[in-house]
């Protein structure tokens, strides 16, 4: 009993700062108590854990994330051309690792399943001594792993996760997200939709029937209805339905003139392809051109939909055609190493790794509470999204959001999206308490 409470009390920031720490064999760390923290690096290296989908539907995104992580590690350790470290506004990192320690990494396969992702993260924490876990390509997995990292006492730097819940109702002190969310997508898209389609529209939603889909649907509805749009129907589709024809044909005669596809990944590719196949893009309803909207775009997935994305609006966290110095530096260094441009998943993962390393350097420790404090309220620039802030209240990055459109005349197979609007950060900001949830205290693990 008493042991348990001391253990938990040990999390408090004040004691944690004392942190000389005892060297403990990993075998006993989880139950032992000390002023140190879990997996405190003792040697000349510090281990990052990259937890990405290597099998399953998002394996390609996972592979791209892993490439970005490897690049980030190179840059942090002073190899390669330094990439975005050269444009990053914080100059704490010297290209000699972090806190004098060289960064090494371990990898794991999330399989895009919560259980597998947690098992893999646990392995990296328990066996490989990872000090931080990062990665992932879906919100369910991100929230599951974030919860695990909170329990275990390491920092979690979320990869591609778009649901509000990650930094909303399921937020955790040890978790940080650079990627944007459905709320921001809605806020950023709405003005562009108004400019292009007017304020007298009837929308029909097809929504992937799970939490992210609902979150997306809610945000888009909220912002488009504020424009004066009506919502004809919001239909839930099973995850991985494959053929969506039975959901698309009712759209034809529903009187709706906009179809919103709250789908991601393969569902997005299939529903969009099929919606175009059913002639929706060329249709006229209520005297207006029928429009399709894909609120969350991923360039990798857009490639899968081929020609069908042409002219279709959506939002994205980052795109390689951006012309700011940070983006250019990143695209150059990624393109030279791998021969093709990075995806937004790669970008957010690279940024997260850099941001984490930088925070550790500035804090002078790897202790989660110390690193967290360095990240909270941190304002930076030069990572491709303009001036950005890690908001202290919910550990969410606030930055400009890109509204993109499927390109009419792509010059290469990577060139499928064009940026039509960079919605400024002020427009997508929302009060921290709006989405509920509780950060709770940091957990340093030991």
């Amino acid at each position: 009993m008493s042991k348990f409470e001391i253990n938990r009390r040990g999390l408090l920031k004040s004691t944690a700062a004392a942190g000389a720490g005892l060297a403990l064999p990993t075998m006993f760390t989880s139950s032992a108590w000390s002023a140190g923290y879990l997996n405190e690096p003792k040697g000349s290296t510090v281990t990052f854990g990259f937890n990405v989908p290597q099998t399953g539907a998002y394996a390609d995104e996972g592979a791209d994330e892993l490439r970005a992580y490897e690049l980030a590690v190179e840059h942090i350790n002073g190899e390669g051309d330094g990439g975005m470290l050269n444009t990053f506004s914080s100059k704490a990192l010297q290209g000699n690792g972090v806190n004098g320690k060289k960064v090494v990494f371990v990898t794991g396969d999330t399989q895009t399943k919560s259980d597998a992702a947690r098992a893999s993260a646990k392995r990296m924490i328990e066996k490989d001594g990872a000090i931080m876990i990062t990665g992932g390509s879906s919100s369910g997995v991100a929230i599951a792993v974030q919860g695990l990292c909170q329990d275990a006492g390491v920092i979690f730097m979320a990869g591609l996760t778009h649901s509000n819940d990650t930094t909303g109702k399921d937020k955790r002190a040890n978790g940080f997200r650079h990627f944007f969310n459905t709320e921001m997508s809605g806020a950023a898209l709405a003005p562009v939709l108004k400019n292009n389609y007017g304020s007298d529209r009837v929308a029909y939603h097809l929504t992937a029937d799970y939490t992210w889909g609902w979150s997306q649907e809610g945000s888009i509805k909220k912002y488009t209805e504020a424009l004066g749009w009506k919502t004809a129907a919001a239909v839930r589709t099973p995850l991985g339905a494959g053929d969506f024809s039975q959901y698309i044909t009712p759209v034809l005669n529903s009187g709706a003139d906009v179809l919103v596809l709250n789908h991601y990944g393969r569902d997005m590719v299939n529903s969009l392809t099929q919606a175009v196949q059913f002639g929706l893009r060329d249709k006229q309803v209520n005297g207006k051109d029928f429009a399709i909207v894909v609120p969350l775009y991923s360039r990798l997935m857009a490639q899968g939909a081929g020609e069908n994305v042409k002219g279709i609006f959506g939002s994205t966290n980052w795109h390689w055609s951006l012309q700011d110095e940070g983006s250019k530096a990143f695209v150059k260094s990624f393109g030279q190493k791998y021969g093709f441009p990075p995806s937004q998943a790669a970008h957010t993962c690279y940024s997260q790794a850099i941001l984490y390393a930088d925070a550790c350097q500035r804090a002078g420790t790897f202790m989660p509470s110390g690193v967290g404090a360095a990240l909270e309220g941190f304002e930076f620039d030069g990572l491709g999204n303009g001036p950005t802030e890690y908001r202290a209240a919910d550990h969410q990055c606030f930055k400009d959001v890109l509204v993109v459109k499927g390109k009419e005349n792509p010059s290469s197979k990577f060139d499928v999206l064009e940026v039509v609007e960079v919605t400024p950060r002020a427009q997508v900001e929302y009060p921290a308490d709006m989405l509920g949830g509780e950060l709770g205290p940091y957990n340093n693990g030991a």
């Binding site: 009993m1 042991k3 348990f4 253990n7 938990r8 999390l11 990993t26 075998m27 006993f28 760390t29 989880s30 139950s31 290597q54 099998t55 394996a59 996972g62 592979a63 892993l66 090494v104 990494f105 371990v106 990898t107 794991g108 396969d109 399943k113 919560s114 259980d115 597998a116 947690r118 098992a119 893999s120 646990k122 392995r123 990296m124 328990e126 066996k127 879906s138 919100s139 369910g140 929230i143 599951a144 919860g147 695990l148 909170q150 329990d151 275990a152 819940d165 399921d170 029937d209 799970y210 939490t211 992210w212 839930r236 099973p238 995850l239 509780e438 709770g440 205290p441 957990n443």
Partner: protein, 382 residues
């Protein structure tokens, strides 16, 4: 005394098994598998497969829906944590009971059919459970994200006994012993040993013999005066309880329950574990479970850097060739290795890994001259 009468061989097997489980962290350390989470998974999936084997290995009824009971157990356990107490005992008790009840319901309907029709019925029920848990049942299951603990959960019993977890998220603890890490493994390990003991009793009991007889010739069982339905249903419920218990333990060591635990691939996994290890043998399923979990967690973690390290002794060009060749089979290619392994095992060792061990054993005993004796050992002792 008669209650616990066991053959000498069985006592020896049981003791060896217990020692192996309890010294798992040391034995498995050299293989890189001696860390708590994987050890917990070995124990938990060992229980799952042991239970599945009581149905499939003994009666021959191939269920493709056992993951539903595992998921049921997990949800029940997390709800028990939320509503009653963070102590694992009520959680696993309720998980086992709910797993059993759910199995009774599905078994009662599915066992009206046999063969592949039975398999498809169980598959259909499990897929319905999964699809609903993922979507419309989200208020109960928290859908895709998975059911998680909350600081604000009531935890009636804990409150009654004055346990206060303060501002942090509670984790499951056995009267003060945190159920993560090694204590969590030992908790699961001891449950596994108990489950193994029970499975062993069932295997050696008249009930177990009747189940094997049903697999052998259901017709004859009927004309011999046995009502086979209650037997198969009992086996189904017992294996459902094992699955529920395993699901409960998953929640104990890691308080989160996701719908994907109920997906058909998860049901398929336990089938593969059982067949891989050796269906109908006592030890096989546990070994099969260990093998698959080992692959999933260790092989998937190999990346180029690690491979370069392994082939460090080779000249550089050769090193690169070896790394790219083996890279196909590990890391993101671990599925390929698993698929190939299934094929090799089924082609060359139809009885699973256990048959492999037995063959090696026979080979060794033959070499040392004690062969004829061993070969005559009646299979009836199994």
């Amino acid at each position: 005394m008669k209650m616990f009468s066991m053959d000498k061989k069985d006592i020896l097997l049981f003791l060896c098994f217990s020692v192996a489980v309890l010294t798992g962290p040391i034995i498995l350390e050299p293989f890189g598998a001696g860390y708590p989470d994987l050890l917990q998974k070995f124990a938990i999936f060992g229980i799952f497969a042991l239970g599945f084997n009581i149905l499939f290995g003994l009666t021959g009824y191939l269920s493709f829906g056992h993951a539903a009971f595992l998921g049921m157990g997990s949800y029940t356990a997390v709800w028990t944590f939320k509503l009653l107490s963070m102590n694992p005992i009520p959680a696993i008790v309720f998980a086992t009971v709910m797993g059993g009840l759910f199995a009774a319901l599905i078994g009662f309907i599915s066992l009206r059919r046999s063969g592949i029709y039975f398999s498809i019925l169980t598959l259909a029920f499990a897929q319905m459970s999964y699809n609903l848990a993922y979507s419309v049942l989200t208020p109960i299951t928290n859908g895709e994200t998975g059911l998680q603990l909350n600081q604000a959960d009531p935890r009636v019993l804990d409150v009654m006994f004055g346990r206060d977890y303060g501002a942090v998220l509670p984790s499951s603890d056995f009267f003060g012993l945190d159920m993560t890490g090694y204590p969590g493994f030992y908790f699961c390990g001891i449950v596994l040993i108990i489950c193994f003991f029970i499975a062993m009793r069932i295997f050696r009991s008249p009930f177990g013999m009747m189940l094997r007889a049903i697999k052998s010739n259901q017709n004859r069982m009927n004309y011999t005066g046995f009502n086979t339905r209650p037997y198969t249903l009992a086996a189904f419920v017992i294996s459902g309880m094992y699955a529920g218990l395993a699901g409960g333990l998953m929640a104990v060591t890691d308080p989160l329950a996701g719908a994907e635990r109920m997906q058909w691939t998860a049901s398929g996994e336990v089938v593969l574990m059982t067949i891989l290890g050796g269906a109908g043998t006592l030890l096989g399923p546990v070994i099969g479970a260990g093998a698959i979990k080992y692959f999933e967690n260790i092989f998937s973690a190999f990346n180029e850097g690690i491979l370069m390290g392994i082939y460090d002794f080779l000249p550089e060009t050769l090193q690169h060739i070896m790394v790219s060749v083996s890279g196909l089979f590990v890391g993101e290619g671990w599925h390929l290795t698993l698929g190939a392994l299934f094929m090799l095992i089924v082609i060359f060792l139809p009885g699973g890994l256990m048959e492999g061990f037995n063959r090696i054993k026979t080979l060794v005993t033959n070499r040392t001259g004690g062969g004829s004796d061993g070969a005559a050992t009646p299979a009836a002792a199994e």
